[in-house]
Symmetry: C2
Subunit: 143 residues, 2 copies
DNA sequence: AATACATGTAACTAATTAAATTACAAGTTG
DNA sequence: CAACTTGTAATTTAATTAGTTACATGTATT
């Protein structure tokens, strides 16, 4: 299993706003950069918009940051694109046998540890910003 | 997306060894407790065995811990059952356009942050042991 | 107001993956 | 050797994700 690439595509879109700011980004041009279908981009753009990370206007080409991209964390993006449901990074088998000590208690017990692990990952995402990513890209680019 | 329930089933199996130690656990009896097919249990048992967490003998009923269960971390189990490939918790879209700054650099840039987040989660799993889970179960059981 | 081009979104298809099932080989014990 | 076990491969089923198509809606320009 793997967390959906919607997350990396979301980061891609946001990076383009800054690194391609001399031209107007349309869902079509972004799709070319990402190498996917424009409708996929529009769907993800819609999620980023709904999360108030970007502003987009129906019918008008272009995207803008809704706030300083140094203040947009990877956790913000991760939440925006709904790649992992709240506290459901790990799944627990359903309907274990309630007549067994383990079957009766495993869901409640394991849930607690799974949530902690998920939170650790999400807390780490919170320390990273789109600016960090963009800075890396500027450094890494082969011109 | 969600991480496979093989992980929680693995924890279930290990917990049964201790909490059901008065009887012999067969793949069949474990399957009843987990509420799945015995072949699924055998497959996971095979993984736990390969990771040296348990000992099982072909043809002979029963499982034993290969080491003290206070020394078995949830990370050990997680690695044993291969629910997430090394550094592939997050997937990155493939074949971004190399003629674009972002397309050219995103994989390398984002990879670094994704690995950090994954490591944070795995480091947290390392702090939790099967004993912790079993203690919770003993506390929570409704007798 | 008509044309061209953009976003927004729903419905459908294809591809991938996970889980369950079936079947049987091989090991062990009495 | 009979009964029962683990080990494992092959198959089916179910669920999920990504990609595609189509079209409604919004905007701007002439």
């Amino acid at each position: 299993m793997s967390i959906s690439s919607r997350f990396s595509v979301g980061i891609h879109i946001l990076s383009l706003i800054e690194l391609n700011k001399n031209t107007v980004n349309t869902s079509e041009s972004i799709a070319e950069s990402v190498n996917t279908n424009a409708a996929v981009i529009r769907k993800i753009m819609g999620m980023l918009k709904k999360a108030d990370l970007i502003t987009v206007q129906p019918g008008v080409a272009g995207i803008q940051f809704a706030r300083d991209y140094a203040e947009i964390t990877l956790l913000d993006v991760y939440n925006a694109v709904h790649v992992v449901k709240d506290n459901e990074l790990f799944s627990v088998h359903s309907n274990p046998n309630p007549n067994c000590i383990v079957g009766q208690t495993i869901q409640g017990s394991v849930e607690h540890y799974f949530h902690r692990a998920q939170r650790a990952m999400e807390d780490e995402l919170k320390t990273m910003t789109i600016k960090d990513v963009i800075d890396d890209m500027r450094r890494d680019v082969q011109s």
